[in-house]
């Protein structure tokens, strides 16, 4: 077989194939639920109900989507320039660490000065972690997939060391957790009595900013050019390595904001489990969004909905929550295939 580009894909093709991909994902997930001894339709209903069925559930989904928007944006920005940042998890934790370092009393400033300072410091910290693999890529052409992956393990161990050492809460009864942030360092809630913090607002603003950068700025143009064809970009006079470094700064900073928002908005202190793999899930979010920053918001809500819904479904129907991860992996693989088939026709020869 060989692939033949389609000049003008029809609307039915462009929308139909992704729909088929999602449908196939749902069918396979239903079969797996049946194997677990549950009614497939009730399982799917329970997931939707658990994610969006009540005000509480919806707010929970929005809260869960917040870090995923940040990590999804981080991945989308990097992948667009073909900088394979698989290290959003490490960058998230760096952001969280610096939020705790500055937010537990080291700076006794009012909130309007303290919060932006912490956010910028967190972003810088996250950016630095990604700069190391990016520098190794541009200088020594070391593949950044492996280095960013390996750094995830290094940073997580470092955080574990801090939580048992200098960042350990003296009042923590021996648990490896940090002290709580002072009130000025906490992100306020969006509305009184609503269990949703401003991290979500910041995530939406970030998505908009990234969209503007990609669509309206020279940097956005350069990042796309480097991603499409580095050799051609270099020939056209685009500083390829400088563009990759700027991409890394943006991407690492965005991932670090996820850590900032989780600590300052949701948890109030740092533990070793603030992220159940948000950095890795960000890759799925970005791919489902086709690397579009505004699409990342939608994809993050979808992914968060599946996770939150699966949690409550699991309690009700007794199907393991890992069904959520399986659905996401299947959706990812089916979706990249479907998107490719909207642009190419398969020919036998």
């Amino acid at each position: 077989m060989r692939l033949e580009p389609i000049a003008n894909p029809t609307w039915t093709r462009s929308l139909g194939l992704p729909a088929v991909a999602l449908f196939a994902t749902v069918v396979v997930a239903s079969l797996l639920a049946m194997i677990a001894g549950a009614q497939p339709f009730s399982v799917l209903g329970l997931i939707v109900k658990g994610a969006f069925g009540s005000k509480f559930a919806t707010l929970e989904t929005l809260n869960r989507a917040t870090p995923l928007i940040f990590t999804g944006l981080a991945v989308a920005v990097a992948f667009r320039a073909k900088l394979w940042n698989i290290g959003a998890e490490a960058q998230l934790y760096m952001g969280a660490v610096f939020t705790v370092v500055l937010g537990t009393g080291a700076l006794a400033w009012p909130a309007f000065a303290l919060l932006p300072t912490i956010a910028v410091a967190a972003m810088l910290a996250g950016a630095v972690v990604l700069l190391v693999p990016t520098f190794l890529k541009t200088r020594f052409s070391v593949d950044e997939v492996v280095t960013t992956l390996l750094l995830n393990f290094v940073v997580l161990l470092w955080v574990s060391m801090l939580l048992e050492g200098s960042l350990k809460d003296p009042m923590g009864l021996g648990w490896p957790k940090s002290a709580r942030l002072i009130a000025e360092a906490r992100l306020p809630r969006i509305a009184e009595g609503l269990r949703l913090h401003w991290g979500f607002g910041l995530a939406l603003i970030s998505a908009l900013v990234v969209w503007v950068i990609q669509r309206r700025s020279t940097l956005g143009y350069e990042m796309r050019a480097v991603g499409l064809n580095p050799a051609a970009a270099r020939f056209a006079g685009i500083p390829v390595n400088a563009t990759l470094i700027k991409t890394a700064l943006l991407s690492g900073g965005l991932a670090a904001l996820a850590g900032f928002s989780e600590v300052a908005g949701l948890k109030g202190n740092l533990t070793l489990d603030i992220s159940p793999g948000f950095g890795y899930t960000g890759i799925i979010v970005a791919m489902l969004a086709l690397l579009n920053p505004l699409g990342v918001v939608v994809a993050a809500l979808f992914v968060a909905g599946i996770f939150v819904g699966a949690d409550s479904m699991s309690r009700a129907a007794g199907v393991p929550t890992y069904l959520a991860d399986i659905m996401l992996a299947l959706a990812l693989l089916a979706m990249v295939l479907a998107i490719m088939l909207t642009k190419f026709r398969v020919r036998r020869d």
Partner: protein
């Protein structure tokens, strides 16, 4: 205790070879995939599948070698998915690989929960036992290290030799290497690049799964979540370190494992007691990154690695 004393202990080298064994299987598998031109980031998840499939087979009453075969077949099944998506369809090898890792890992955990709903501690199996090769195992230090291991470890070393011979001494190996260097030339010879690459990814994934199975069937005797713990990613670094050659990759795996065995022992010395244990656990990952930097200068990357081949396209 001095570091030199540790290095002269037979038990140290025995441990190093044991730690190296799963890495040898999986790195060899990755090497086969990459030599044919396909980066397989599914390795981490495929090792999880292999670890579980092999262990479950034995737990359900199958023989040990039957368990290894089941692990290999389950790895090959995921390899087939990876191969079909990345080779004829030419999808991003990064995205598909990570997707396969997520799919394989979550599917494994799902099946574990279904198979053993109410267990607090994972059940144990009767794992492979060391098989002493008489006379040879009497050689000081290296004797016990090399000749008092489980059969799976011997298999790992045999495979390194076998893969080297196949890659460099057979037409099949030549075709596989050519598919990773100059696919158009392979097609000109009337061979199918797609078929070669898919087969390579399947066989490679089978090896990765056996590497995972080593963990549950030889190194330990039960299945834990998170037990693969980044070994797959380290194997990808090992292949680069070994500049895509089986012998050098084996050497890298043994060196890495020796370092790992050393850090565990230094942790227990008075010197190690003053250092946070996380530093020791970090060391292997940092070492892998450094190895990548050092080796990248003279690395001979397969020319067509990560380049999809579409027939008739120039």
């Amino acid at each position: 205790m001095d570091i030199l004393d540790i290095l002269l202990q037979a038990s140290f080298w025995t441990a190093a070879i044991r730690i190296a064994s799963p890495l040898i299987f999986a790195a060899l598998g990755e090497l086969i995939c990459e030599r044919a031109g396909v980066l397989n980031l599914g390795i981490e998840g495929i090792m999880v599948v292999g670890a579980f499939a092999g262990w479950l087979t034995v737990y359900l009453g199958g023989g040990l070698w039957f368990g290894v075969a089941v692990a290999m077949l389950s790895g090959m099944a995921f390899g087939l998915v990876h191969g079909v998506l990345t080779v004829p369809f030419g999808l991003s090898q990064h995205v598909v690989g990570l997707g396969i890792t997520l799919l394989a890992t979550s599917l494994t955990y799902y099946c574990y929960r279904l198979a053993l709903p109410e267990v607090t501690s994972p059940p144990k199996i009767e794992a492979f036992q060391p098989l002493e090769i008489t006379i040879l195992s009497d050689i000081p230090v290296i004797g016990p290290a090399l000749f008092n291991q489980t059969p799976l470890t011997y298999l790992a070393f045999v495979l390194v030799v076998a893969v080297t011979l196949v890659l460099y001494r057979t037409p099949m190996g030549l075709a596989l290497r050519a598919a990773g260097e100059d696919p158009a030339a392979v097609e000109a010879q009337g061979l199918s690049v797609s078929a070669i690459r898919i087969c390579a990814v399947m066989v490679g994934s089978g090896f990765m799964a056996v590497g995972g199975a080593f963990l549950t069937m030889s190194a330990f005797n039960s299945f834990f979540f998170e037990m693969v713990n980044g070994r797959g990613w380290i194997c990808i670094a090992l292949v680069v370190f070994g500049s895509w050659k089986p012998g050098k990759t084996l050497l890298g795996a043994v060196l890495f494992a020796a370092f790992d065995a050393l850090q565990i022992r230094v942790q227990q010395t008075p010197l190690g007691a003053d250092i946070p244990y996380q530093i020791f656990l970090m060391a292997p990952y940092i070492l892998s990154i450094l190895a990548l930097v050092v080796m990248s200068r003279r690395a001979q990357v397969p020319a067509a690695l990560m380049v999809p081949f579409n027939k008739g396209e120039r």
